[in-house]
């Protein structure tokens, strides 16, 4: 049970983490502020109005130290939802643990580190696709050698689905991304059985109960077959598709928000029946704001009730053999295979991204979905049917606009107190390394140790890698 959380400053989020751990949560899951996700410092023009709004604001190692203050990093597992600058946040985490006295091989957790779905759906890229892939393979290689218990890429369908894809598109595009990482890591010269067991997946749990649980079953089948037959994996762990599931944020309604508790319960149940290894149940107020403490607690309780009271977690794949479940699983697998064929025809995932293939498929699917709602071909209770006309009020979580000021003050203090000559020297070394083909992780860790900010590290890499822009199609 691992609920996604992060807001405001590192100190504020640290309080929320301690609250969640006290209430029985067994792992932490970090949501980062948008400026951190894009690698800008809190006082950058682009950070205006965003600091701490959607997640915790991290600029330097100092913030990471505060975030995990009094939390023993050798005892918990931490999932960090970070992509373009994932290597930097992982470096900060490793150094924070080092300062707590723990060696990297004790660390357990996940970085999302899935850049392909950013180009496809979520849009928080920084560098062009090829350079981004290099950084990802650097982290895979580094972790394989030094942080063996770390999950290096969380290959994510969640955002593809939230952007409007169908269940089959989520399945197909996500697995295609997974195969692209496997191929790139093998090209680097890594042995498939050395890194594949540390890849994991992250899927959405949407409303259609059977379609969702069959999606997970199809995903496991496709992955196991390909890993064995195409990539020659031999270890059983390489063939296993491990996945985290989050219920569909996009399915939550702003109208009668309490109804979302029921939606989330059904979605969570589908994920558990489909075999998910970990689950995030959304809070009922998330169509309105970041979740309040009360809503977070109900969401956690929902999981605990599914896990401990319903008995559904007692049997592996309990719906196997049902004629409907098996035929739907087969059909989804076939439809996914048809997509793999198309992607291959386009030259692979990166060329397909550059041709806007995924983006167009998703835009078409999401427009169709919305039209079905408007024509009442798809019922959303309380929205296009069974509506109530009375206004309701839900207490909302407000993020104090002071957060930005506090964070910028912290950043300025760091800039003043660190050894700026040393920071400059380490950034220069990173830049030279980036021009070559060495693994960048050790260089990034050296800059982090000197309290270089994420903005400084990203700017340095941008000088070498350049940036990326997409065609804005709709």
């Amino acid at each position: 049970m691992r609920q996604f959380a992060g807001f405001g400053t590192a100190a504020q989020t640290n309080e929320r983490y301690k609250f969640l751990l006290e209430h029985g949560q067994t792992g932490l899951s970090v949501a980062f502020s948008l400026h951190t996700i894009y690698g800008y410092e809190a006082d950058n023009e682009y950070a205006l109005g965003e600091v701490g709004k959607e997640g915790v604001s991290i600029d330097t190692l100092k913030d990471m130290e505060t975030l995990f203050d009094s939390i023993d990093l050798s005892k918990i597992s931490t999932s960090m939802t970070i992509n373009a600058p994932a290597a930097i946040l992982l470096a900060m985490y490793i150094v924070t643990a080092e300062k707590q006295g723990h060696s990297p091989d004790l660390l357990r957790g996940t970085i999302q580190n899935d850049i392909l779905k950013e180009y496809i759906a979520q849009k928080s890229w920084i560098f062009p696709p090829e350079e981004s892939m290099r950084l990802i393979i650097d982290t895979i290689e580094y972790c394989t050698q030094h942080v063996p218990q770390w999950y290096t890429v969380s290959i994510s369908g969640y955002h593809i689905r939230e952007a409007g894809s169908t269940a089959v598109q989520e399945l197909a595009f996500t697995l295609a991304d997974g195969f692209a990482y496997v191929e790139a890591a093998m090209e680097r010269g890594l042995n498939v059985d050395d890194f594949a067991p540390r890849l994991s997946f992250f899927f959405n749990a949407h409303n259609n109960f059977f379609e969702e649980l069959c999606k997970y079953r199809a995903a496991r089948r496709i992955w196991a077959k390909r890993m064995k037959n195409k990539y020659g994996a031999k270890k059983p762990e390489s063939l296993r598709l491990r996945f985290h599931t989050q219920t569909a944020g996009v399915s939550l309604t702003a109208q009668e928000p309490e109804n979302n508790i029921v939606r989330v319960t059904l979605q969570g149940l589908a994920a558990v029946l489909g075999g998910t290894q970990s689950l995030h149940t959304n809070s009922f107020d998330e169509a309105l704001c970041l979740p309040t403490e009360k809503a977070v607690k109900i969401a956690l309780r929902t999981q605990q009730i599914i896990a401990n009271e319903s008995g559904v977690a007692d049997t592996v794949d309990p719906l196997a053999g049902s004629y409907y479940v098996e035929s739907l699983t087969n059909r989804m697998e076939e439809e996914a295979e048809a997509y793999f064929f198309k992607i291959e025809e386009l030259g692979g995932v990166i060329p397909a991204i550059k041709a806007n293939f995924f983006q167009k498929e998703i835009a078409n699917a999401s427009y169709k979905y919305q039209q079905e709602i408007e024509k009442n071909e798809r019922i959303v209770v309380g929205v296009n049917d069974f509506q109530l006309r009375e206004a309701c009020s839900t207490p909302l979580l407000k993020i104090d606009d002071q957060v930005s000021k506090v964070q910028i003050d912290l950043l300025n203090k760091i800039r003043k107190n660190r050894d700026n000559e040393m920071v400059k020297a380490k950034l220069e070394k990173l830049k030279i390394a980036a021009q070559g083909s060495e693994n960048l992780m050790p260089y990034i860790m050296d800059t982090v140790r000197e309290y270089a900010s994420i903005g400084e590290i990203i700017s340095t890499l941008k000088e070498v890698f350049g940036t990326y822009d997409e065609d804005s199609i709709f």
Partner: protein
């Protein structure tokens, strides 16, 4: 405005928020309703938005923000438009805009505030009836 001219709408995603599903669906719905639609894509600074308004001269600007940055970004866009003497363009914002923020945004001249669950035809109608020229 004359009945023969197509309504021209600029759909923008200001700030770092990448949640562009709503913006894209709305852009397409307005286009299907016969309007001329320009979609800027994501990551627009207030200056980017204003520059595009100057270049394209739309009848309406629709800002889509789901990140909570609306109170910082919207007034700044309005101010910059005012500096350029642009006052005949409908500027609307939608996404996740809490009720309590609406009076503040209204004071700065923003309209709309449509959130999740709003029907597309309602948005088309809103644009048609709130144009300033």
């Amino acid at each position: 405005m004359s009945e023969n001219r197509r309504i021209k709408v600029l759909v923008c995603k200001p700030g770092l928020d990448g949640h562009d599903r709503g913006a894209k669906v709305i852009a397409r719905a307005l286009r299907d309703a016969g309007m001329e639609v320009i979609y800027t894509g994501i990551h627009q600074t207030p200056d980017d938005v204003v520059n595009t308004v100057i270049q394209e001269d739309p009848d309406a600007v629709i800002l889509s923000i789901l990140s909570g940055a609306h109170n910082a970004l919207c007034p700044m866009i309005m101010e910059k438009l005012k500096e350029k003497d642009i006052d005949d363009v409908l500027v609307a914002v939608g996404g996740i805009i809490p009720d309590e923020d609406k009076p503040f945004l209204e004071k700065h001249g923003l309209k709309g505030f449509q959130g999740p669950g709003t029907e597309l035809k309602e948005i088309v109608e809103f644009v048609k009836t709130n144009l300033k020229r």
